[in-house]
């Protein structure tokens, strides 16, 4: 089972370490973790994707809430949220596969953002599954390096924000 935790924390040094340390100390999984400042510069938002059984996922929420640098924890399933991942992929290309790469990019709405005579860099911003699919499609072509942000997510819009 997968859960997304949107965790508002104090924007202070050492907080990331404390939160990450909590996961390692209690043997919780981190599938991905993204941190960034929010509209309030004293508050950061961590988006943590974790997997485990129901009991573990509940404990994660409770233990996060217990941390004194954590302001608020929101937990939701992937279906209740809008999630995105940004990925940069650098590939080696040649005359023979150039069209293939561009077609795949076109189909998956990825953009070519940089190029040299032998390499190109492609950017994709989409839901995590599509990012995975894109990577899979490019696997037959030689990938030089990949950088991914991991999932950022917010709960879907509702008329009463709770």
């Amino acid at each position: 089972m997968k859960k997304i935790y949107s965790v508002l924390v104090e924007n202070r040094s050492g907080v990331l370490c404390k939160v990450a340390g909590l996961f390692s100390r209690r043997a919780f999984n981190i599938d991905s973790l993204v941190v960034g400042e929010t509209d309030d510069p004293t508050v950061s938002c961590m988006t943590i994707v974790s997997s485990g059984n129901e009991h573990t996922l509940e404990q994660i929420e409770k233990q996060l809430n217990k941390k004194l640098d954590v302001i608020k924890v929101k937990t939701f399933e992937e279906t209740e949220s809008v999630s995105r991942e940004l990925m940069l992929v650098k590939v080696k290309y040649n005359r023979n596969n150039r069209r293939d790469i561009m077609e795949i990019s076109d189909v998956l709405k990825a953009q070519i953002v940089d190029m040299s005579k032998t390499q190109m860099m492609i950017q994709l911003c989409d839901v995590p599954e599509r990012a995975q699919l894109f990577l899979k499609m490019l696997q037959s072509i030689s990938i030089v390096e990949v950088a991914r942000t991991g999932t950022v997510a917010l709960q879907k819009c509702r008329d009463q924000e709770g």
């Binding site: 104090e10 050492g14 009991h55 404990q59 217990k66 004194l68 302001i71």
Partner: protein, 539 residues
Amino acid sequence: MNGAQAMVKCLEMEGVKTVFGYPGVAICPFYDSILDSEIRTVLIRTEQNAAHAASGMARVTGQVGVCAVTSGPGATNLITGIATAFADSIPLVCITGQVNSELIGSDVFQEADITGAAESFVKYSYLVKNAEDIPRIFKEAFYIANTGRRGPVLIDVPIDVQNAPVKKFRYPEGDVVLRTYKPTVKGHAVQIKKVMAELEKAKRPVICAGGGVLLSGAEGMLREFSHKYQVPVVTTMMGIGAMQTEDELYFGMVGNNGAPCANRAMNDADMVIMVGARVADRAVNQPEIITRDKVLVHMDVDPAEIGKNAGPTIPLVGDARHIFEHMMQIEIECDHGLWLQTLYEYSQTMKETRRTRPEYIDPSEFIRRLSDRMERDAVYVADVGQNQIWSCRSCIVRDGKFLTSGGMGTMGYSIPAAMGAKLACPDRQVVAACGDGSFQMSMMELATMRQHDIPVKIIVIANGYLGMVREFQKNTYGGRYSVVELSGSPDLSKLAEAYGIRFIRVSERKEMDAAIDAFLRDDDAVLMECVIDPMDTVK
């Protein structure tokens, strides 16, 4: 005023009377300033014991215990003490000196990343970067340590911050408001109603009281509650003393080292009310036993404890004292006479099966007789090992306290914790009971007792072995004893003489009562060696 003076002023504002510690260069500004204060300083002989002594003090007063040590090895030595307090939810403020802010991260002499190293054992920690923040940080630290689920808070103060000027000292007044920390104190009214409705239906209810009952000062309420509704009580190791051990409704400690009838009560119950207990492995070996075919109510101030090890039927977050108060206002009809009758029969028939060979002193009997003669409000501190188990089973607690390191099981806890308790309550009798292994982990503190005139009474239950491990090796490794023999131990009579402490040795059953009387007679420090069968066991 400088940072160090501000630190001392903060301690004064919090009503701190005693600071346990060990100085070093990085904490010297603080120890210089404290000379101008009424606060008593106690030079402990190793840093770990500073935290234990502060813990002993905190546990008898309900106030935050304070210790202050230097950077680097001073701070790292403190970690076991902090972890011990964390495991038992004891409120401490631990102050460490740190190297100059400019030098942090450059691995200079006596630098250790103590906030990083202690992270998983503290409730919260601060690295002070600006002397002006000292009042706010201290105020928050004391508040965090002694509210919600209690625990140790670490404040790491670089030496330059201690020396930096503080222009205007203003200690924050009123309640601390933190957007990240709002402990729940009052129990949810609907949940409380549900509990009482279940209690009315229950045929065989039992309350299992943990350390949380003592931490919230709910002993009185628990006793009143159990008598009002005639609900039998068992405790975890940390909960010993929540009920008077001679109370007719008290059936002993649960767990793999507990009383057979207490465990039987938990097993046979149709409703278990866990109060301030973690449901950890030593108390509840198989959590499914307390959930299967039972209504499990789990009360705890820490929501993360509820459902961590056992899924309750009714979770109830809040402070034990408030919840009991609230519950007592609800009138219900219940009669548990039949159930109590069954439990009395269990307690009569399910006796311990272990027997001490007749030529030796039975440590359980010794502890029972000793604690029976102690003053009503005496403080008894049990160390870790076989002595702890014998103490837990046999110590009679009335209006006093029973202290031990239940969560971490830190050897050497008893002597420093007893010193802290004695300093806090000079009028009460304080007895530390340890084995010859745990005694040697803290025997350097005899000097502290002498230096600061802290008349703690110490019992060493001597068998020449690390008995608990030996017993485990006997049962698990077929008697292949490895690294458990304690030969080379000092002659305790000479050791006591060297420190100028009165000494008593007892090795025969018939001498026991006279020795106990001599041991308890005056309010001075005594070291008593109680020699037992080297092969005696707890089971």
